[in-house]
């Protein structure tokens, strides 16, 4: 258990938080909603992987595809059914709806799958690779690379493509965006699809690391990722990644010091410190008033 191993563990955990935090940040950026159901989407993704591999005995590749596709559809569906009808309602109503959706998914999963943990089979058969005499976790390396690629692709998409620019326009001024001929509903759906696809990828990476699915697994994961998004500056894509990595490192190092019972507390302490010093988060801009 070297420093390198710990570093890799921190990066791996941080990457997962980052992927989940990206979904929070994108949805918040466009409709100012803290999507409390986001963590539960990951839970559904983990169950999909379990069904595909353990119940149906199909390939891990198919599990990845179906988990990501399932999460994407679920995210869009939640927006259409639960949030879209409340687009002009007070923000508190939609926030409470999000909490309701979260409970619905958790209890729904418990009803369907039971409360006990399901073991998600391994996605890859080799678990370590040797690099210069040191054996490193292959899961960790895959997780880190996938997250890096996702972040770069997402950033390019948002900054360079027409649809990405429309997302930014809608997030700045929905009314003005409509006057440009931008279909605001489609743009919001697309944002949910993207954020939920990342959650699906996060679900696969999380299952690779922890190999189990439970109805409530999304709660702590979602909360930590939410903390990561706020730490980095909610609404900011690079901020979500920085926040995710910070939270991951904090947890791993506190555990490495033998204080693992304190790891959650340290994450929240970190949040409090950052918010006291910089209330908008590390990369957060001062919020301009929405009209």
């Amino acid at each position: 258990m070297t420093f390198l191993t710990q570093l890799l563990n921190g990066l791996q955990l941080g990457s997962i938080y980052a992927l989940v935090a990206l979904g929070y940040t994108m949805v918040y950026g466009i409709i100012l909603l803290l999507n409390f159901a986001h963590g539960d989407i990951i839970m559904v993704g983990a169950y999909i992987s379990w069904i595909v591999m353990a119940k149906l005995g199909m390939s891990p590749a198919l599990a990845v595809v179906l988990s990501v596709a399932g999460c994407t559809l679920l995210g869009v569906l939640i927006d259409k059914v639960a949030y879209a009808p409340l687009r002009n309602a007070p923000r508190l109503s939609i926030l409470i709806t999000a909490i309701g959706v979260s409970y619905f998914l958790e209890n729904g999963a418990q009803l369907v799958f039971g409360a006990d943990a399901k073991v998600v089979p391994a996605f890859i058969s080799t678990s370590t690779i040797k690099v210069g005499g040191v054996s490193l976790s292959l899961n960790a390396i895959i997780t880190i690379i996938v997250t890096a690629v996702c972040t770069v692709v997402l950033q390019l998409l948002v900054q360079k493509t027409k649809l990405g620019k429309a997302m930014r326009a809608v997030s700045e001024d929905m009314g003005a965006a409509r006057l440009m001929g931008i279909n605001v509903n489609t743009t919001i759906s697309f944002t949910f699809a993207l954020g939920s696809a990342l959650a699906g990828i996060g679900a696969v990476l999380y299952s690779m690391a922890y190999s189990q699915a439970t109805p409530t697994m999304g709660i702590m994961l979602g909360t930590k990722a939410f903390v990561a998004a706020v730490l980095g500056g909610i609404g900011s894509i690079p901020g979500a990644v920085i926040g995710g990595l910070l939270v991951g490192f904090a947890e791993v190092f506190v555990s490495a010091l033998g204080l693992s019972v304190w790891k959650d507390a340290v994450v929240f302490l970190l949040l409090i410190i950052v918010l006291v010093v910089k209330p908008t988060g590390i990369l957060g801009r001062t919020m301009n008033e929405k009209v």
Partner: protein, 235 residues
């Protein structure tokens, strides 16, 4: 047939009746202005035509087609653009990105062409194409808002208080541009606090008073009308 025809339009926000049965027409090629005091319902009228506010009743026809119930983004496609009150540029996006958003409903090749026209008309925007819109001066932001609206190649351009908050020399420049745009074939519906400037370039005007049209006539007639002079032209 009128390019735009509004009949007996009623619009309210909850209990507030902002527009109470107004009717007016705009012919192809005209500059028509709506003038009126604060809260008369001018912006409400434009926003309703653009589809971002829903009317209670009445009809709005553009090129003979009803716009009532048509989604805002579809209305832009039909050739009707609104340059909103307060400019509402996307302040964290660059000038070029703002213009690209203006051409959202058009193809890339169309946009490349229109962009040249817009940059020719507003050379200052071209110089600042990579600057974020929030860092532009008020006058430049107004030009960007107008350029952005032009990117959709509108047949009818609606301008809501384009001179608001600008220095007199810039106000003159904006009005010159409006006249030029009109000469090149864009029909204009202009809402202004600066009634004398608006009436002096308009073919026709309508005076709006708390949700009703109280007077109508050619720009020159209204400019010399005693009531209008007293109420809106300071004597």
């Amino acid at each position: 047939m009128a390019l735009l025809s509004v009949k007996d339009l009623h619009v309210s926000y909850g209990a507030i009746k902002a527009v109470q049965g107004i009717s007016f027409d705009i012919e192809q090629g005209e500059i028509v202005t709506l003038i009126g005091a604060n809260g008369a319902g001018k912006s409400t009228t434009l926003n309703t035509i653009a589809g971002i506010v829903k009317p209670d009743s009445g009809s709005i026809e553009f090129k003979g087609e009803s716009l009532v119930g048509v989604k805002a983004h579809k209305i832009v496609e039909k050739g009707l653009a609104l340059c909103p009150e307060g400019r509402r540029v996307f302040s964290q996006m660059t000038v070029a990105e703002n213009l690209q958003m203006g051409g959202y409903t058009r193809t890339d090749s169309e946009n490349a062409e229109t962009l040249q026209v817009v940059y020719e008309r507003f050379p200052r925007l071209k110089e600042r194409m990579n600057q974020t819109a929030g860092t532009l001066s008020g006058g430049e932001q107004q030009m960007l808002a107008m350029g952005r609206a032009l990117m959709s190649k509108p047949e009818l351009l609606m301008l809501d208080e384009p001179s608001m908050g600008l220095a007199p020399i810039l106000v003159q420049e904006i009005f010159d541009i409006i006249e030029e745009l009109n000469k090149q074939g864009t029909t204009i519906l202009l809402v202004e606090q600066n009634a004398s400037m608006a009436l002096s370039i308009a073919n026709r005007g309508y005076v709006l008073e708390v949700g009703h049209i109280s007077k109508t006539g050619t720009g020159q007639d209204l400019l010399h009308d005693d009531d209008v002079r007293k109420a809106y032209l300071g004597g």
